[in-house]
Symmetry: C2
């Protein structure tokens, strides 16, 4: 596995921070290095796709007629490394300490994405054909919210036609617990503006006789959820789909301790949420309504007796599978209208929406991956979901019409987006083995009917 480590270290040396314009030359070098890794693996039609922002790097190997085609996705860009003073080793001088390799991008995503490249290389460099057809699509704007990959997918869906996408950018639920993520929540993110008058007023003169925009905003917010944590928007839960029985069984068996989670991970005063559901269900398969920010009036040091005439609230609804974002946004707007007290005018502006993405764990693409991962890592592969969104998964679903297989080879303590990011190298090597087995198992099937 020395070639894996050497190539990974070389890739990680490149500070491909896509959010910082001064690192644009590094991002390009990382794209070129990605292309080199593709070529070296024996992949064909390696190319940099130029466009707005940083290049895409593509390649393919399509010599398994009748067999399934997988779209292998990864990203070669990384997060900024700040705060630098908290790193124990320099972020762009990859450092191996025991079984871990420390560097910015070690787990997100170079150290996991290389698994897909090296799995292909293992077949092709040994002179063996790949058991399935592969397309590779790596982007350089995942960490900076760039539009290049979306624009390319929209313009060239046929160039990426496939049966499923395969993404190594998620983590195991716990060490040694092979994990596949089968669902992501959707979102409606909106900004609420509440206005009660033309100007701020003096509370000495007007207090008690005029509306108060912050009070109005607070009344609206308080009415959107029940005291017990459930969402109080009429009809909001109507279309929520229950998880598959396999998933519920898998979740119930996960090593999860509510009190340890509260105290050590979330570090909150108490766990709250929709009654009748476990913590895991609340954050993976149930919708959630959260207030992200609020602003109004005077909040500096000291006392100012202003009656504010406007307030701003940032609010989102995480959506469960089955919920239509447009309908959820409409129900939210209607509930806000109904909750707006006399003397206040509320306006809701939706900033963005995304549908939840779920993959049926009974799909052969998931089942075969689960078996392959169990064989390599030992123990039953568990199914998890994520309460957040991974935009590319929604794009693959919407534009290519394919499910995404999210294999978790990272670990919960990999410090993504934080100082001292690392990857656990044995998982990289076992990941390569698992992906090879996965492709071999899929290659026993025909694409038809999958």
């Amino acid at each position: 596995m020395e070639d894996v480590l050497d190539d990974l270290i070389e890739w990680l040396r490149i500070a491909s921070i896509s959010a910082l314009p001064e690192h644009a030359p590094d991002v390009r070098r990382a794209a070129e290095f990605t292309a080199k890794l593709f070529s070296q693996a024996g992949l064909e039609n390696v190319a940099l796709i130029e466009g707005e922002g940083h290049p895409l790097v593509v390649a393919d190997w399509l010599h398994a007629p009748g067999k399934p085609t997988l779209l292998c996705y990864g990203h070669y860009d990384v997060q900024p490394a700040e705060p630098l003073e908290l790193w124990r080793t320099p972020p762009f001088e990859p450092t191996k300490l025991g079984d871990n390799l420390y560097a910015r991008g070690a787990a997100d995503d170079k150290g996991l994405a290389i698994i897909l490249i090296k799995a292909a290389e293992r077949f092709l460099r040994a002179g063996k054909p790949l058991p399935v057809n592969l397309r590779f699509l790596f982007e350089g704007e995942e960490e900076s919210g760039g539009d290049h990959v979306a624009a390319y997918l929209k313009a060239n869906p046929q160039a990426l036609s496939c049966d499923a996408a395969l993404i190594c950018d998620t983590e195991m639920f716990a060490p040694e617990l092979p994990t596949i993520c089968t669902g992501l929540r959707g979102i409606v993110y909106a900004e609420l503006k509440v206005r009660t008058g033309a100007v701020d007023l003096h509370s000495g003169v007007y207090g008690g006789a005029v509306p108060n925009a912050i009070e109005a905003a607070a009344r609206i917010v308080a009415k959107l959820k029940h005291n017990d944590g459930g969402i109080a928007i009429p009809g909001f839960y109507d279309d929520v789909l229950a998880p598959a029985p396999e998933e519920l069984r898998s979740w119930a068996a996960l090593p999860f301790d509510d009190e340890a989670f509260r105290r050590d991970e979330a570090r909150v005063e108490a766990l709250t949420g929709e009654p009748g559901y476990s913590v895991v269900q609340r954050s993976w398969s149930r919708p959630a309504l959260e207030i992200h920010g609020i602003r109004g009036g005077f909040t500096a040091e000291g006392a100012k007796t202003v009656i504010p005439c406007q307030a701003l609230v940032k609010i989102s609804c995480r959506l469960a599978a089955g919920q239509d974002p447009a309908r959820a946004a409409r129900l939210l707007a209607e509930a806000i209208d109904a909750a707006t007290p006399a003397g206040a005018v509320a306006s809701l502006h939706v900033l963005h929406t995304a549908k939840a993405s779920i993959v049926d764990p009974r799909s052969p693409f998931i089942r075969e991956a689960a078996v392959a991962m169990s064989e390599v890592f030992g123990g039953q592969t568990v199914f998890t979901r994520s309460g957040g969104s991974i935009p590319i998964v929604g794009l693959f679903a919407d534009l290519l019409g394919v499910p995404s297989v999210l294999t978790g080879f990272g670990l919960p303590d990999d410090n993504l987006h934080a100082p001292n990011e690392k990857v656990y190298l044995p998982n990289v090597y076992r990941g390569i083995e698992a992906i090879m087995r996965y492709w071999t198992r899929l290659g026993l099937r025909q694409s038809e009917g999958m």
Copy 2:
């Protein structure tokens, strides 16, 4: 009346902005000019009292044994003049346009405070004794919240012993409507901190399973008042005193149009507040609970999916006559405790409190002033209150044990604290005449038994 205008113009030329350290020499010049006005009026024992901050200027005339003693209060400092570009005439070049004199401080307070000085001068320069005993106390930190006057009052109450205070720093309810303000509301101003955990969390990962500090703050705020506008704190209204019948009659007769007030003055969407009370009662004689500011989480442009672990709320209760500030603060804290949802910790920090100040309109100090003002201005003198606080009135009540007579000679459109501040000169001249008549009427009484 030329001496009045000349002296006022000279006083107003001094930019005695107490809040700006670079104007400290101007503030001192204004103090010295105040002392000159006192001496020129024939007052005795004129002195600058030095201490922390800007000097006090005192004087007296105490040669009416057995007659009432009045403490004449005013301030010689002014607000900053910014924004300068909105002034039509330079703020420190007093400009007479028609019957109005424009300058910073024209109405607040030099142009009204000079009434007291010139009324005394009219008696003494004519060689006539004053009908009452007078003490003068002018300060230079009213606009900047300085502590000098309070410290001096606390240390030297006997030096200011009197039967009542007389203050020319308020306005008529409407032009040509002689007005006495007989009450000020008190206040409890506090800061509420709400905490739900140790760090902000990602709503994708935790949304729906952990408490949200902004939601908790909103729930607390929403529970402090009823939907109909009444304060929902148990026992809060218990000690509120009803206004005197004279006041209620006077208020009901005031020229006040709800819709014009809403549209043209308050400029709000609707008038709200405690059911069963008029707008005037709500803002003058009933307590009010207002939220002045709220802050939490992410409120910049765009979308960030944070679950905030803390929120800050600025909140005050305006207190009616009869309410004890300490009890009001305790009831507020208890109501917040009761309203705090599971998973949140709320802490209330009281920043300052003040008791309401009311004067009985049947007091001879008020009655004689009302008659004198009616004689000069024509029409019945009306009794108003202010929904705000004037701290010096509370100090006079607490430290000297005397009521304050607040005679309104300003006009509602005098632009206090705003560009183009002005004073209506005929009111200054009529004010001098009214104060002279007031003192003459009081001089017919003995101090004993008032």
